[in-house]
Symmetry: C2
Amino acid sequence: MRTVAVTNLKGGVGKTTTTVNVGAGLALKGLRVLLVDVDAQGNLATALGVLPLRTLYEVLVDGKAVAQCLVRARPNLDLLAADATLMNAQPLMTQRPDWAYLLGRALKTVASQYDVALIDCSASLSVMNMGALLAAQDVLVPTAVEHLALRGIELLQEQLARVGSGTIRCIVPTMFDSRQRQAHELLLQLQGRYAGLVTEPIRVNVRLSEASAQGRTIYEHDPRSRGALDYAQLVEHVSTLLGLQ
Amino acid sequence: MRTVAVTNLKGGVGKTTTTVNVGAGLALKGLRVLLVDVDAQGNLATALGVLPLRTLYEVLVDGKAVAQCLVRARPNLDLLAADATLMNAQPLMTQRPDWAYLLGRALKTVASQYDVALIDCSASLSVMNMGALLAAQDVLVPTAVEHLALRGIELLQEQLARVGSGTIRCIVPTMFDSRQRQAHELLLQLQGRYAGLVTEPIRVNVRLSEASAQGRTIYEHDPRSRGALDYAQLVEHVSTLLGLQ
Ligand SMILES: Nc1ncnc2c1ncn2[C@@H]1O[C@H](COP(=O)(O)OP(=O)(O)OP(=O)(O)O)[C@@H](O)[C@H]1O
Ligand SMILES: Nc1ncnc2c1ncn2[C@@H]1O[C@H](COP(=O)(O)OP(=O)(O)OP(=O)(O)O)[C@@H](O)[C@H]1O
Ligand SMILES: [Mg+2]
Ligand SMILES: [Mg+2]
């Protein structure tokens, strides 16, 4: 199983939207996909329209088996969800010397059943995010094409160096609005600075936000939309990049 | 000094943009304003175009006086900035039993010099955000008019109940795009659920993102823009609400 952390310190850049639509796209290709939510907002479950009975809290704090806490979100697509109880996990976990490795160890127990796991991170330096970076070999960085988000990537690189785990495999420009001059300039800046890591941009598309509001993937909500085409292209790129054919 | 935490667990909803433009608006009215950044991204300094010599890290970890770590961002507007070093503060602080109160105590040392302090939070449940909620009496919640952000408010209310400090004074709808049907529906939902707490929306306006990219307030960048008008109106509302005349 390849483990990919989807993260950016900047908030609202499309981490959850990318995790859902890349995960669902890989599952449609027949790959066995595990999604993991380490953000107490629990937006993965909302965006997929599922109501989890158990969550990551039970795995990390109660020691329950991952297999018992999963919800089958779509065919080939399982979800280890999060909810507000995760707020309580952090203070409990940090009392253990091995807190940073709990998530990685838990995911290893189901590694043989999946081809890839995508971990949706929150926009912060929390204990949970640290655990996700340590569990993942690969890092996928969505970034809105805006000034402050580009700075978020620099900080993330510093954090990865500090944590000593996880390599940025690709940077995905999101919410790209070709009508704005600033967007073109920033995209060029991004491509200049990170060259081959930057994928084709995901264009701004209200269908994506409608989809997540209704608990559906973009392929279910509007398969002919710009959002569906852009994410399908990203899925192809990611599966080749990570050798997931 | 009134202390206001500007926060929402949801990322990218305009917390920093609101802190800068409400803070700058109050300062233009002649109020003495302190801005505090508890997000390691340090976006307040970037958005104001200032380069801090010292940051919150030195106050919390090295015990330096707040007055020595401030930067005068504009007339009547001082900033206690953050930067990547704040990443290192959290593990150090949590070793102290009183970690949650360090920020509040530090801000009390300068309370007589300001009328109001605004604390820009990150989108998470980090140690720093907890400290900000404990230091603040008032909470201002920017929220993008989107489905997932509305859930962020519910979680924030749970967190405030748990922390036992800070009262939501107002909820500010941001990035409101009147061309989208979904936006009107969600705004009605927000007003229905939180009634008198919800202010007039801040309309989507590329001038706001241009301004922060250039390190200027919206009043400096384009005083006749929708963004400037909307934030000026919010400044009037907030100063009346908090009795800051
Ligand atoms: N390409 C796009 N076009 C239009 N809207 C988008 C696009 N991508 C994401 N969105 C919307 O933008 C909002 C933010 O996206 P999302 O929640 O995925 O970001 P996030 O990085 O996961 O946020 P957080 O930091 O809170 O975890 C959501 O309402 C989502 O539906
Ligand atoms: N009303 C608006 N219209 C258009 N763009 C906006 C508006 N408000 C904020 N923005 C832009 O949206 C992006 C996100 O805003 P901002 O960084 O203030 O959010 P935040 O909640 O502080 O994010 P984070 O969760 O990373 O702290 C920025 O590029 C900002 O310039
Ligand atoms: Mg998210
Ligand atoms: Mg911010």
